[in-house]
Amino acid sequence: MKPAPFTYHRPLNIDEAARILADVAEHDGRIIAGGQSLAPMMAFRVARPQHLVDIDEIVALDVLCIEDATLRIGARVRHSRFVPGAIAGPTGEIFAKVMPNIANYSVRSRGTFCGSLAHADPASEWCALATLLDAEIIARSVRGERRIPVSAYFDGAMSTTLAPDEIIIEARIPVLREETRTGFYEFSRRKGDFAIAMAIVAFGVENGRITSPRVSVGGAEAYPRRIREAERALDGAAPGADAFAAAAEAAAAAVDPMEDAVTDAAYRRDIVRAATRRALEQAMQ
């Protein structure tokens, strides 16, 4: 038994979960759903919550559908749900491209999309994708419902603007236009390991020119962000090697890479450059 002792709560609906969390939030009460990030941290005792509020039995959080051109992802939707064809159009395509890179088969059958957003690991694929797609995070507490745009959500490595008594109940994502092209490239040392850097891109091509380009880089900084310099390099350009190299260079120049014992800033910057170029190339295939 490696985790520190805690009190376990299993609410059966969202209101009950919000009430319990309101009571225990000040005692380091935490939400658990799939638990594929929180449970390892508890095993190491890096996290020692005194209360766990398990939302994994709340069936209403299973929603995964497109409504009014918005993809709704409930807090109990697991990574493995995003297989090819599960969601229509280019939005579904990019989810399906990203999904197999998350951890491994078993973890994907239990971990959740919203849980990844809550955990906010710098190397999280879903956080980078939510950033690309301008997701909105729906936070619920006894005080009501709050909608947090992803641009105002992350505020550091594994740190967010979510209040201690708020539960992410859903993420909402405006779907991409039908003809949008998407690409994803991630580099890590081992299959399923944390990414050293990744890039996710989306753009249209009209009359031989790139329109509405989006570039999201994850794993390089404390949290993922859109790289406007790279998007400007692409906007209106002819899709191809020159534009992609310019965008990749702009992304590499724009990031302020994290460093650790085995990865210095220059190396991570190189990976950002290569990942951005390869994601753009993949989008044209």
């Binding site: 985790p3 508890m42 973890v107 059958s109 239990r110």
Partner: protein, 159 residues
């Protein structure tokens, strides 16, 4: 801290056990149910030696608290063989020498059985991807893959 009396449906038998909230499903299986087939390896979700099948999904039992498994259907390696006949995956592991020290074996069996029951017609890339989920510290992956390929064919023929 809370203690919970829970019912687990394990290998078609219902067991009632009393556990602290912090007890993992892995520890509950091993210590409270005398089912020591699921192995404790890294105990933080990396190695997969503890993999069991919960509600049809392969689950790292070190990353699930026993209390979360209340009322759920659990299968462990002890339940794979039926009436003395090895499961096709066990048979293939034996015949292909996919076992070296054996520590990772129960996890690989439960992982691959769950994946192939969900998706029987997995192609070779998908099978490799599934096998990549668990670690074999003897690094005997080629024989594990050979066994899984043969078992996949065998399982398809039997259904």
């Amino acid at each position: 801290m809370t203690r919970h009396t829970i019912q687990l449906k394990i290998n078609e038998q219902t067991r009632t056990i009393s556990v602290d909230a912090r007890k993992t499903l892995l520890d509950a299986l091993r210590e409270d149910c005398n089912l020591t087939g699921a192995h404790a390896g890294c105990e933080h979700g990396v190695c997969g030696a503890c993999t069991v099948i919960v509600e049809g999904e392969p689950v790292r039992s070190c990353l699930m608290f026993a209390v979360q498994a209340e009322g759920k259907t659990i299968r462990t390696v002890e339940g794979l063989a039926q009436g003395g006949a090895l499961h096709p995956m066990q048979k293939a592991f034996t015949e292909q020498h996919a076992v070296q020290c054996g520590y990772c074996t129960p996890g690989f069996l439960m992982l691959t059985v769950a994946a192939l029951e969900k998706t029987p017609d997995m192609d070779d890339d998908a099978l490799r991807e599934v096998v990549a989920s668990n670690l074999c510290r003897c690094t005997g992956y080629e024989n594990i893959l050979a066994a899984v390929r043969i078992a996949a064919d065998d399982m398809r023929r039997r259904t």
